[in-house]
C-alpha cells in the first residue's frame, strides 16, 4: 500500500497516516491483553465452566457489529444530505465490517448455546433481531455488488441503510410481544452478567475496548483503501483507460 501511495499520489491523505499506525499498534496490544485476560486472568465460571469464556468474544463482537451499523446509518444520512462520496465510502466499509463481526458473534453464540441451552439458536428477541440485522446488511452488500458502482448505488444503499436501521427496534419489539402473547417454551437465561466477579467484568471491559479499537483500525484501513480505489478509477477514466 505504501509503494502505491507514494508513486501514484503525492497527496498526504493517502499515506498510511498516524491514525492507522496508532490504531494498529493499539489494537494489537489491546487484543493480546484482552485474550490473556479472557483465557487466563478471568476466573472459571462455576456452572458453565470453560464455555463461559466465549462470552468475552461473543458480546464484544456483537457490540462492534451493532456499532458498525450505527455508523452505516449515520453515514447514509450524511451522504443523502451532503452528497459527499466519503460518507458513502464509510457506509460501505462499515457494512462489511459489521457483517464480519456479527457473523463472528452469532457463531460464537451458537457454540456457547449448544452445551449451555441445549440448542444452537434461539429465536428470542435478541437472537431474532441479531439475525435480521445480519440479513439486512448482507442484502445491503448484495445490493451494492449487483447494482455496481456509481451515484445511483450510493443513493439506493443509503436509503436501505436508513430503513434497515430503523427496522431493528421494530423487529425487537415485535418479537418480544410475540413471545409474551404466544406462550412458548421459556429459555434459560444466563445469570453470568448479574453476579459477575470483578475480574470477569474487567476482562470483559478490556475485550470490549480491544474489539472497538480493532474495528476503528479496520475502518481506517478500509476507508483509505477505498479512497485509493476511487482515485485510480477517476484517473483511469480521465485518461480514457477503462
Amino acid at each position: 500500500m505504501k509503494d502505491l501511495t507514494i508513486n501514484s499520489t503525492p497527496q498526504k491523505q493517502y499515506r498510511p497516516g498516524t491514525s492507522l499506525v496508532i490504531t494498529a499498534i493499539a489494537s494489537t496490544v489491546a487484543l493480546s491483553v484482552g485474550f490473556y485476560m479472557a483465557l487466563i486472568y478471568a476466573p472459571e465460571e462455576a456452572l458453565q465452566g470453560g464455555a463461559q469464556r466465549i462470552f468475552y468474544l461473543h458480546v464484544p463482537a456483537l457490540w462492534v457489529g451493532a456499532l458498525a451499523f450505527l455508523v452505516v446509518f449515520i453515514s447514509s444520512l450524511g451522504y443523502l444530505f451532503s452528497r459527499n462520496t466519503i460518507w458513502d465510502i464509510i457506509a460501505r466499509s462499515s457494512a462489511e465490517m459489521g457483517v464480519i463481526f456479527l457473523t463472528l458473534g452469532i457463531v460464537a453464540g451458537a457454540i456457547w448455546a449448544r452445551p449451555i441451552w441445549g440448542i444452537w439458536y434461539s429465536f428470542d428477541p435478541r437472537g431474532t433481531t441479531t439475525l435480521v440485522l445480519w440479513l439486512t446488511y448482507v442484502s445491503y452488500i448484495m445490493l451494492r455488488s449487483i447494482v455496481g458502482s456509481g451515484p445511483r448505488t450510493s443513493r439506493l444503499s443509503a436509503f436501505l441503510g436508513i430503513v434497515g436501521f430503523i427496522n431493528v427496534p421494530l423487529v425487537f419489539m415485535a418479537t418480544r410481544w410475540w413471545r409474551t402473547l404466544h406462550p412458548a417454551p421459556t429459555i434459560v437465561t444466563s445469570d453470568s452478567e448479574s453476579g459477575m466477579p470483578q475480574e470477569m467484568f474487567l476482562a470483559f471491559l478490556v475485550c470490549l475496548g480491544a474489539f472497538t479499537i480493532f474495528y476503528a483500525f479496520l475502518m481506517i484501513y478500509r476507508v483509505q483503501l477505498e479512497q485509493i480505489v476511487e482515485r485510480v478509477q477517476t484517473a483511469r477514466s480521465t485518461l480514457g483507460l477503462f
Binding site: V132, L143, I146, V147, V163, I166, L170, W178
Partner: protein
C-alpha cells in the same frame, strides 16, 4: 398531461397521482398480467400448504393465519416486482419523469395501485381460506388487520420495487431486500389475525393494531420522503 411545475403543490400532486393511477389501472385492465398472475400463484401456494402441513398436524386451521399471510406476502411480491418492471421495459418511467411529474405523485400512485391490487388478492385469498381450510374469518378485527397489513406492505414495498427495477437479478433481489424489513409487519399481522380469530377482547389485540398503525405511518413517511432519492436521475 399538462405541464406542471416541479413543485409540491397539493392540488397538483393529487391530480398527478390520480392520472397515474388511472394509467396503471388501464394498463392492468388491458394487459391483465399482474393481478391474474398473483391470484394463480396464490392458489397454487395454498394447495401446496394444504398438503405439506396436513401430514404433521391434524388441524390445519391452527396454521391458517400463517398460511394466509405467507401466501399473501409471496404473491404480493410477485405483483410488486411486475409494477415497475413494466415501466422500465417500455421506458415509460423516464417519460413520466420528463413530463414533468412530481416523484411524490409517482410514489403515491404506485403505492395505491399496489394497495388496490393486493386488496383484491386478499379478498380472494380470504374466500379461498374459507373454502380450503374451513376457517371463520368473518371477524371484525380481521377486517381491521387485513387492510393495515396490505397498506404496510404497499407502503414499504413500493420504494424497494423501484430500487430493484433496473438491476440484474431483480426478481431475486427484491424479496432478499424487502423481507427483513417486512418481518415486524408479518409478526404483527399474523398475531392480530390469530387473536382476532380467537375472538379476543380489544385490549388484548390493541397492542398489535397500534403497532400496525405505527408501522404503516412510519414507513409511509419514510418511503414518501425517500422515493425522490430512488428515482432521481
Amino acid at each position: 398531461m399538462k405541464k406542471r411545475a416541479f413543485g409540491k403543490d397539493l392540488p397538483g400532486l393529487i391530480q398527478q397521482t390520480w392520472l397515474l393511477l388511472k394509467k396503471d389501472a388501464l394498463v392492468e385492465l388491458r394487459s391483465k398480467e399482474s393481478i391474474p398472475l398473483m391470484i394463480v400463484f396464490c392458489i397454487v401456494s395454498l394447495v401446496i400448504f394444504n398438503f405439506t402441513f396436513d401430514l404433521r398436524t391434524s388441524n390445519v386451521t391452527l396454521l391458517a393465519p400463517g398460511i394466509l399471510w405467507v401466501s399473501f406476502i409471496f404473491s404480493g411480491l410477485l405483483g410488486l416486482g411486475r409494477s415497475f418492471t413494466r415501466e422500465t421495459e417500455r421506458e415509460t418511467l423516464a417519460g413520466i419523469r420528463l413530463a414533468p411529474v412530481d416523484p411524490a405523485a409517482i410514489y403515491l400512485s404506485k403505492m395505491l395501485a399496489c394497495f388496490f391490487s393486493v386488496t383484491i388478492l386478499q379478498l380472494l385469498l380470504t374466500f379461498l381460506m374459507v373454502v380450503f381450510f374451513d376457517v371463520n374469518l368473518a371477524k371484525p378485527f380481521v377486517a381491521v388487520a387485513l387492510p393495515l397489513g396490505s397498506l404496510g406492505f404497499a407502503a414499504i414495498g413500493t420504494p424497494f420495487a423501484a430500487m430493484t427495477m433496473n438491476t440484474r437479478a431483480r426478481e431475486a433481489l427484491l424479496p432478499v431486500l424487502l423481507l427483513p424489513v417486512l418481518l415486524p409487519l408479518v409478526l404483527a399481522v399474523v398475531s392480530s389475525t390469530a387473536l382476532a380469530m380467537d375472538n379476543v377482547e380489544w385490549n388484548e389485540i390493541s397492542l398489535w393494531i397500534h403497532f400496525l398503525i405505527g408501522y404503516d405511518v412510519l414507513f409511509l413517511t419514510i418511503s414518501f420522503l425517500g422515493f425522490q432519492i430512488i428515482v432521481e436521475e
